[in-house]
Subunit: 123 residues, 2 copies
């Protein structure tokens, strides 16, 4: 399993899901999962999905610029660091963002998101 | 110990050291430490310091815009996510950057950097 390939596949899946059916992101989080979104701290899959679903835009399209990944230690986790831009419907210019995910392995051989930190990069 | 206060103190210490005596950053890394700098992957404190020391500028000044942190799991680690800007001597405009650190506790009650990912945010 090539970690870079796993990271890239995760990131593509994450933003494709975000842009098409945000509520479906719940399956990627668990009760211990944490999201810090523009400084707001949220814990647990249900609360995270509620937060993401409540963002004040309906349609958006993420474009990924870079994906970096590193193993996070002996627990088999993986850190994924993304930069990109976010185009909202009705906005002329895309917003640049950075986001990091800490992916942890599940017993089923998949990953869930334990940590998620998102920031817009204001120009 | 307030994690946000620890993260903020670490970040201030890190960039103050970077901007004054980059070689002294070696004390914050260990052999297992990883740095991904603009896509380049480096492992180990000595190689990381060599990389940081070889960057093609002598003087710089980091300005921190945001610091977010989360616990990274049962190992007592902490994820620190930073956005800010980097002013190089002789350059008119600062460069925006994002960086994440995964801090792990040491037996002495301090932290070292296990993971470090840095990206410039091109406008």
């Amino acid at each position: 399993m090539d970690p870079d390939a796993v990271a890239k596949a995760f990131v593509e899946h994450y933003y494709r899901t975000f842009d098409s059916s945000r509520a479906a992101l719940g399956g990627l989080y668990q009760d211990a999962s944490m999201l810090t979104f523009e400084g707001d701290k949220i814990q647990g899959a249900a609360a995270i999905v509620a937060k993401l679903s409540s963002l004040p835009f309906q349609q958006c399209a993420h474009a990924i610029a870079t994906v970096d990944c590193q193993p996070s230690g002996p627990s088999g986790g993986m850190l994924v660091f993304v930069s990109g831009s976010l185009q909202l419907v009705g906005e002329q210019h895309p917003l640049k963002f950075s986001q990091m995910f800490h992916l942890m392995p599940t017993p089923q051989g998949s990953f869930y998101v334990l940590n998620d930190i998102f920031r817009l990069n204001y120009a």
